[in-house]
Symmetry: C2
Amino acid sequence: MTPGGAGVAPRHPDRPHPVAAEAVPAATDPAGDDLAAYLRAQATEFLRALRAQREHGNGAEGAAEAGRALRRSARRISAALHTFRALLDPAWADSMRPELAWVSGTLALEHAQEARLDRLLLALHRLSGSTPVPVGAVVHAGAPSPVPERGSLTVGAAKAGALLERRLTLARTRAHSAALEALGSARFHAVADRIALLASDVPLAPGAATAGLGPLAAAAEDRLAGAVSVLPLVTAGDPYNAQALVHGLSPDPAPHPQDGPWHQVRLLLRLHRYAREIPHPAPADPRLRQAAEALTRHRDAAEAAAEAAQAARTPRIAPATAYALGVLHADQRHEVEAARFTFQQTWQS
Amino acid sequence: MTPGGAGVAPRHPDRPHPVAAEAVPAATDPAGDDLAAYLRAQATEFLRALRAQREHGNGAEGAAEAGRALRRSARRISAALHTFRALLDPAWADSMRPELAWVSGTLALEHAQEARLDRLLLALHRLSGSTPVPVGAVVHAGAPSPVPERGSLTVGAAKAGALLERRLTLARTRAHSAALEALGSARFHAVADRIALLASDVPLAPGAATAGLGPLAAAAEDRLAGAVSVLPLVTAGDPYNAQALVHGLSPDPAPHPQDGPWHQVRLLLRLHRYAREIPHPAPADPRLRQAAEALTRHRDAAEAAAEAAQAARTPRIAPATAYALGVLHADQRHEVEAARFTFQQTWQS
């Protein structure tokens, strides 16, 4: 798939011409040229999604899909810049990545708040026995089942639901405004311009066109393996180890420090999975996909639990509301523990 | 161990003389005579414990041990009367059992309230991160670890702990008074007199002395197997199935109906284990012991969860207190789920 000669890579206009590299035999390993093609494709995808979003305007279903595509390509470009930095113009890559993180972070927030509210309301109904839980099935509160009506809730659960809805709808509205503002900003236009440039010309480092990606992809996998190796997997594989709720009533309202290593593995697993997409997605590895889903569920449940705890600090709420939020918090922390168990089972398999 | 002849069983004075049964070959199965010997021994143990308790008076450690021995023998006599009713004078057995249930129930309550408070305070500390949880160990809140000081708790957890302490100390004091009153009552003296009689003379049914206990013990085991067969063991064996908390916020404050079948199995397992003690304890079966422990933990956690929910209905408590009680309730319901998982694992092994 890779032309064996040097100097065939598209060159960034203000980059030095790559030095003539020795001709390497065509390998099965992807090389810098494949990286360049991947980055061009992702940049093109980003621009296409951006156009689609502008055409659809706000609120339409198409706009949401375009937003997802925008974030998806931004994440992939950013990941490639990180994993294969050695093959790219380092100054360019280093200046590009924070901008891409800002874009995907800003655009992701509205969706995250919406998903969090869905998760919490669904859990409130499950805890009220008003949604049938499939027997033998682990509950994935993030699954797209319809949120039922609030008629069957206790006063406390109903009030907790209303409080969460107020808080998260407000947060979502703010996130929506922030995303709109970002999309119209000079900073975003500068990013879009740079991505338009990337769609035609990738600033590879000298000699990178024919350099293999293998060692850098392997290094990403090693970083993942290293991060997994420090996870408490023995504990996580022991069901009902009661670790996730150990700080459930801790005086420290900050996110649980014990979650950090798991969040870190989630990011490294994403880098590893994206690296496997070059030059084209490797054969699907259901284990990696399931592990990634477990870590996403871990993050979502941890954030939902934190939201329930924060909501319970609202002044002057009724004790019944606070009680329901306490049950909800503990429930989501157990989802955190369940997600760790699922990850452990998937990873060891 | 069993004399092969008929008519050697001690006879109750007001019982008809057992009809001369056919001489059966000495079997390895225990027979009615062994049952009589067992009941005499348990009755003697009951009387010994009663004497010890009266000597020790209230509150001493020896009195607590004597109380445990009293309940232990009362439970065993009652169980034998139930399982082997067909070999006993049925009118006598039927009139004796409610009295024994009253004795063991009344005497057990004080200890139960004390253990419940320990369990809940320990859980509050665990949830506050103030007690180190052994890594990889399932938490048994009923384990005799010292309850740490309250300094490290949040305001909510500390207030919840104080509220539970007030409620359960009051309940325990009442249970203590009720037990003292019961021990001094005419009803109790009548029971003690009947047990004194039992210590020398067991009212076997005609021909029971040589009848084998096997079929009746097997029937008890069958009842246990039947009750286990309707438990949702497939769900219970799926870790983090989120079933135990399904009614965590249900409008119905009654004990969870889903717990009933498990409590029933706990009682039937006890009957089966006690039946295996005749003529002397069968070789220890760690599986049965572990299963029984899991079901006891199931019951204790279910009752502790109900207590947390009830305490949260105290008028005019602070929201922070209610929140802590909500977390505590959910935590104990997860202990319920964990106990079901342990039971399933033990039973299938």
